[in-house]
C-alpha cells in the first residue's frame, strides 16, 4: 500500500492540546489529517491549535460549524472535512472518522496493514432500527419520522411534549424513497469510493434536507446511506467506544491501561484529557504483542457491569447512595434466611441441633424484648451490630437488612415468636428470601411449664394467641412472598420427623440425607389438661390444634402429618 493511504478526519471541541498531540502522531506517520474545530471554541484556542500543527504539511483545517449535540452540524462538519480530505490527498484510500478525544491503541502501521488486507471494506456500524436496543430516550425509528425542533439537552420538557403530541396526532414525516433507516456508532472508516459516492450524489441536497431534521443524524446519516452504495459493509466500528445508560460515552483513565492494551482495538474514545499515562504509553510505535483482531470483550463486560451496578444495584443493600422505594429493591434482603416460630418451645436443644445438622448460623430470638439473641449470645455481631434492643428497635428493618448483608455467604436462621417485637412481621412475610416455618400455638408450651399464677398465664396466652394469629394472617395474605410452612402444635408433635426433614432439606439441599439425630422433644404430659384449664377459664386456645385432654395423642396410630404450604 502506498504511503498516505489512510487519512484521519478529526472532530474536536475540547482538550485541543490532546487533539493536537494525536493529530501530530498520525501526521508524522504519513497519515493526512483534516481537523474540524467546533465553532464555539474561542478564536485564541483555535489559533493556538493551528500554530501547534503548522509545520506539518499533511494537516488541514476544514470549515467550522457550531456542533450542538444531536444536531445536523456534526454531519455537515464531517462532510466538509471529508471533502477536504478527498480533494487534497488523492492518495488516501480509507478515511477514518475520529474525535479529538480518540487515542490510537496500536501503531498506525498495524491499522494500515489491516486495512490493506481489506481494501474494499467499509467499517461502519449500521443496524436497522428494529434491531438496536441502545437508543437514548427510546427513540429509534421515530428519529426518522418525527420532527425535533427543540433541544434535547436544553429544552427536555418541550422536546418530550412535542414527541408526545406528534405520537398522539399520528404525525409522520415522509422518508425519501430508497432510504432505509439504519443507526450506528458515529465513528467509521470508509473507503474513498463509498465516501465519494455519498458526497457526490446528485440527490444529496434533497437527502441532506431530509436528514437535517432527523434527530441525532450523526448516528444515522452515513450509517443509512452506506447501505445504498457499498457492496461491502462490515457493520462494526474500528473505534472502541462505549456508552453508559444515559447515552454518554464512558471515559478511559490511566488505570485502564492494561485492559485497553489487551483489547487489541485500533482506536479508543473517549480518553480523559489528563490521562497522561495513556497518552504516553500509546502514542508510540511499539508493535502490540500479536497482530490480533480487535477484541473488546473484557471492556464490554467492565462497562456493562458498571451500568448494571447503576441501574440494578446490589440486592439487599441499603446505603447512602442506594435507598430503594418499597418493592423496588431488586431483593429486599441480601440472601435467603430461615425463620422458625415455636421450634425452641417444642424442642429443648433446637438451636444447637439445627446449627449442627445444617451447618448454618443459628440465632436465638433476634427480636426478643430484652436483647438481640445473636448466635452464641454475642454482645456484638458481624459488622459490629450491637445486641442492644433499643438500637435494634430504633430501626428494625435496618437491623435485619444489615445483618443479612453483613453475613452474605452464610445462611442465617433465626427464632421468632409472638413474644418478640413484631415490627418486621410484614417485611419478612413479603420477602422472597424468607423461609418461614411456624408451629402455631407452641408459645403455650413455656406457659404450661412456667410456675406462674393461672390468671397471669391466661392473660398472656390470650395476648400471644392474638399476636400469632395476626402474624399467620400476614403470612397467608395475597402479597406474602416468603416460603411459608405452618403446622399446628398438635400436628407437629404427632409426627415431628417429616416437618423437620422438609425444613432441613430446604436450608441445606446438598445434604440430602435422612435425619439421624433428632432434637429432644419437651415433655408434654398434662398439656391437654392445661389447654382445657384455659378453656375453663374462658379463653379459647385455637392455634395449637386438637389436643385430647387425656394425653394419649402420641399413642394414636401415626397420621400423615403433612405440612401445608401456604405459598
Amino acid at each position: 500500500m502506498k504511503s498516505g493511504s489512510l487519512g484521519f478526519v478529526m472532530l474536536c471541541h475540547t482538550a485541543l492540546d490532546r487533539a493536537a498531540q494525536v493529530a501530530r502522531h498520525w501526521a508524522e506517520r504519513d497519515c493526512p489529517v483534516v481537523i474540524h474545530v467546533d465553532k464555539r471554541v474561542g478564536r485564541k484556542s483555535y489559533a493556538k491549535l493551528v500554530k501547534q500543527l503548522e509545520n506539518l504539511k499533511n494537516v488541514r483545517f476544514s470549515r467550522r460549524h457550531a456542533c450542538e449535540w444531536g444536531t445536523w452540524a456534526l454531519v455537515a462538519a464531517t462532510q466538509d472535512a471529508s471533502e477536504v480530505m478527498l480533494a487534497e490527498f488523492p492518495g488516501v484510500r480509507h478515511v477514518y472518522l475520529a474525535s479529538g478525544a480518540c487515542l490510537p491503541l496500536r501503531p498506525v502501521d498495524e491499522l494500515i496493514q489491516y486495512l490493506n488486507a481489506r481494501p474494499r471494506t467499509d467499517f461502519i456500524e449500521s443496524v436497522t432500527t428494529e434491531d438496536v436496543g441502545w437508543t437514548v430516550g427510546g427513540l429509534d425509528l421515530e428519529r426518522f419520522t418525527l420532527r425535533f425542533p427543540f433541544s434535547w439537552r436544553k429544552q427536555r420538557r418541550l422536546f418530550d411534549w412535542y414527541v408526545r403530541v406528534q405520537r398522539r396526532v399520528g404525525f409522520h414525516r415522509k422518508v425519501p424513497a430508497g432510504v432505509v433507516p439504519h443507526l450506528g456508532s458515529q465513528w467509521w472508516c470508509l473507503t474513498r469510493q463509498t465516501l465519494s459516492v455519498i458526497l457526490e450524489n446528485p440527490d444529496r441536497d434533497e437527502i441532506d434536507r431530509y436528514f437535517r431534521r432527523v434527530w441525532i443524524p450523526d448516528e444515522s446519516y452515513f450509517q443509512t446511506l452506506v447501505r445504498q452504495v457499498s457492496p461491502n459493509v462490515e457493520s462494526r466500528s474500528l473505534t472502541l467506544s462505549k456508552f453508559d445508560f444515559q447515552g454518554k460515552p464512558h471515559i478511559f483513565y490511566d488505570d485502564h491501561l492494561q485492559i485497553l492494551r489487551r483489547s487489541d482495538c485500533f482506536v479508543a474514545r473517549k480518553i480523559w484529557p489528563h490521562a497522561d499515562k495513556l497518552y504516553r504509553n500509546f502514542l508510540t510505535d511499539n508493535a502490540s504483542a500479536q497482530a490480533a483482531e480487535p477484541n473488546p470483550g473484557k471492556i464490554d463486560r467492565l462497562f456493562s457491569k458498571a451500568v448494571e451496578r447503576r441501574t440494578k444495584g446490589r440486592a439487599g443493600l441499603y446505603m447512602q447512595s442506594r435507598y430503594p422505594n418499597e418493592n423496588w429493591e431488586n431483593g429486599r434482603t441480601a440472601a435467603p434466611y430461615a425463620v422458625f416460630e415455636g421450634f425452641t418451645d417444642v424442642f429443648e436443644n433446637f438451636e444447637v441441633w439445627l446449627s449442627k445438622t445444617t451447618g448454618t448460623r443459628v440465632h436465638g430470638h433476634l427480636f426478643a424484648p430484652e436483647r438481640v439473641e445473636f448466635a452464641g449470645r454475642e454482645a456484638v455481631y458481624n459488622g459490629a451490630l450491637s445486641d442492644s434492643a433499643a438500637l435494634r428497635d430504633y430501626n428494625p428493618k435496618g437491623f435485619l437488612t444489615s445483618l443479612l448483608w453483613n453475613t452474605r455467604g452464610e445462611r442465617q436462621c433465626l427464632q421468632f415468636g409472638p413474644g418478640d417485637n413484631q415490627a418486621l412481621a410484614g417485611f419478612m412475610a413479603g420477602d422472597p428470601n424468607a423461609q418461614i416455618s411456624v408451629i402455631s400455638g407452641a408459645w403455650a408450651v413455656p406457659l404450661f411449664h412456667s410456675n406462674r399464677n393461672f390468671g397471669d398465664i391466661r392473660r398472656e396466652a390470650a395476648q400471644l394467641q392474638k399476636i400469632e394469629a395476626e402474624f399467620l394472617s400476614l403470612l397467608r395474605s395475597p402479597w406474602s412472598k416468603a416460603r411459608v410452612r405452618v403446622w399446628t402444635l398438635a400436628e407437629f408433635v404427632e409426627n415431628p420427623m417429616e416437618p423437620l426433614q422438609t425444613v432441613v432439606d430446604e436450608i441445606s439441599p446438598r445434604s440430602m440425607r435422612r435425619l439421624t439425630e433428632v432434637p429432644r422433644l419437651t415433655d408434654l404430659t398434662g398439656f391437654g389438661q392445661f389447654l382445657q384449664n384455659l378453656r375453663n377459664q374462658g379463653m379459647q386456645p385455637v392455634l395449637m390444634g386438637e389436643f385430647p385432654v387425656n394425653d394419649d395423642l402420641r399413642g394414636n396410630p401415626p397420621r400423615r402429618g403433612r405440612p401445608y404450604l401456604v405459598n
Binding site: 453508559d244 445508560f245 444515559q246 454518554k248 464512558h250 471515559i251 483513565y253 490511566d254 488505570d255 480523559w272 489528563h274 467492565l302 462497562f303 457491569k305 458498571a306 451500568v307 451496578r309 447503576r310 441501574t311 440494578k312 444495584g313 446490589r314 443493600l317 441499603y318 446505603m319 447512602q320 447512595s321 442506594r322 435507598y323 430503594p324 422505594n325 423496588w328 429493591e329 431488586n330 456484638v380 455481631y381 458481624n382 459488622g383 459490629a384 451490630l385 450491637s386 442492644s388 433499643a390 438500637l391 430504633y394 430501626n395 435496618g398 437491623f399 444489615s402 448483608w405 453483613n406
Partner: protein, 348 residues
C-alpha cells in the same frame, strides 16, 4: 374526597412546601450575608483561584497538629485552593495556614454555635468564591475517599460528574478508631492519622428519609453502638454531601448533612440502582480527643447542647475502647465499596 380534589390538594401542598423551602434557603443566605461581618481576613489569596479550580472550605479551631497532613492529603488529591475560617485558634494554626501559598484564611471569635456550627460563615465564603467551582467542605479530621481515588485525581471525578450532569456527590462519615484506648498511640504532627485510627464498623448503619429536605438521615457506627444505646435518635448524623458544583443560590442547611435546593440532596437512587458515592474517613478518635472533648464541653458550642461530648466524657472516664472483634481494618476504597459503604455507581 374525589380523586381530582385530592390531587389538587397534594399539588397545593407540594407547591407550598417548595415555597417554604425557598424561603428557608433565602433566609440562610441572608443570614450568611449578615454573618460575613464576623469574618476578618487574615490572608486573602483568592485572586489565585483559577476559573476551574477545585476549592476546599473548612472551619476549624485549634487543629494545628492536624494541618500539615490535612493539607498534604488534599493537595495530593488535587485541591487547588483552600479557604479556612479560623474560629479563634490559639495554637498557632492560623499563623501556620497564613504561610501556605494556596490558602486563604479568615478569622473570627464569634460564636460557633450561633453561626450554625460554621455553616453561615462557609455559606458566605462559598457564595462569594465558590460560584461555578467544585467545592469540597470538610473538617480537619475528615478525609475524602471516592471510587478510584488511588489512581484518579479529584479532577477526574469532577469532570465525570460534570459530564454526567451530576451536581452533588455524597460521602458518608465513617468513624475511624484505634484498637485500644485513644491515648495509647500519640499522634505526631504530619503523621497520617489513619495509621493510628485504622479500624471501623463495617455494617451497623441505619437510615431513613428526611421528607422535608429529601436527604437520607444516616446514623450508626461505633458512636451509636457505644454512647447512644439509651437515646439512639440523638446519635450523630453521618450523611454528608461534601462535594458540590456550587452556585451562589445554594446553601448548606445544617453542617454538610443537607443543603438547598433539595434536589442536591438526591444523592441516592430510589429505584434499586446505586449512584456513585464516597466516604469521609473520620479520624476524630486520637489521643487529642480527650482534651478536645473536655474543651468543647466547657465551651458548649456543639450540636444539641454538646450531648455528644457529654456522652463521650462519661464513657471516656472509663478507658474507652471502640474496638471490638468485628471491627474492620481499613485497607482502601475498594474494600469500602465491597462492604457497601460507598459505590462506584456507573463510573468504571
Amino acid at each position: 374526597m374525589p380523586e381530582g380534589v385530592r390531587q389538587q390538594g397534594e399539588a397545593g401542598v407540594r407547591l407550598l412546601s417548595q415555597y417554604v423551602l425557598r424561603l428557608a434557603r433565602k433566609r440562610w443566605l441572608v443570614r450568611a450575608m449578615r454573618k460575613r461581618r464576623e469574618l476578618q481576613p487574615v490572608v486573602d489569596r483568592t485572586n489565585l483561584i483559577s476559573r476551574d479550580g477545585i476549592l476546599l472550605f473548612s472551619t476549624l479551631r485549634n487543629e494545628k497538629i492536624r494541618l500539615p497532613f490535612f493539607l498534604r492529603y488534599y493537595r495530593d488529591l488535587g485541591v487547588n485552593h483552600f479557604l479556612f475560617v479560623d474560629n479563634g485558634s490559639d495554637d498557632g494554626g492560623r499563623e501556620y495556614l497564613a504561610q501556605q501559598p494556596d490558602v486563604s484564611v479568615w478569622t473570627t471569635s464569634a460564636s460557633y454555635k450561633r453561626s450554625r456550627f460554621g455553616a453561615d460563615w462557609l455559606n458566605w465564603l462559598q457564595r462569594k468564591y465558590g460560584h461555578g467551582h467544585w467545592t469540597l467542605v470538610v473538617d480537619a479530621d475528615e478525609f475524602f475517599v471516592y471510587p478510584f481515588c488511588d489512581t484518579r485525581p479529584l479532577r477526574a471525578l469532577t469532570d465525570w460528574l460534570d459530564a454526567s450532569s451530576i451536581k452533588s456527590f455524597s460521602a458518608m462519615l465513617l468513624d475511624m478508631y484505634p484498637k485500644g484506648p485513644f491515648d495509647a498511640q500519640p499522634y505526631r504532627e504530619g503523621q497520617d492519622p489513619l495509621e493510628i485510627a485504622n479500624w471501623f464498623d463495617s455494617g451497623n448503619y441505619v437510615m431513613s428519609r428526611n421528607r422535608k429536605f429529601g436527604n437520607l438521615w444516616i446514623q450508626g457506627g461505633p458512636r451509636m453502638r457505644m454512647f447512644f444505646t439509651d437515646a439512639p435518635e440523638r446519635a450523630p448524623a453521618l450523611n454528608k454531601v461534601p462535594l458540590v458544583k456550587w452556585h451562589r443560590s445554594y446553601a448548606y442547611v445544617s453542617s454538610t448533612h443537607s443543603l438547598l435546593p433539595r434536589g442536591l440532596n438526591q444523592v441516592y437512587d430510589e429505584w434499586g440502582g446505586e449512584k456513585a458515592s464516597g466516604v469521609l474517613l473520620h479520624a476524630k478518635f486520637l489521643d487529642t480527643f480527650g482534651t478536645k472533648a473536655a474543651e468543647e464541653m466547657a465551651r458548649r458550642q456543639h450540636y444539641a447542647n454538646s450531648h455528644e461530648y457529654r456522652a463521650y466524657n462519661q464513657v471516656i472516664g472509663t478507658e474507652p475502647d471502640l474496638w471490638c472483634k468485628w471491627s474492620e481494618k481499613y485497607i482502601n476504597w475498594r474494600q469500602l465499596e465491597i462492604l457497601g459503604l460507598m459505590s462506584k455507581g456507573n463510573w468504571a
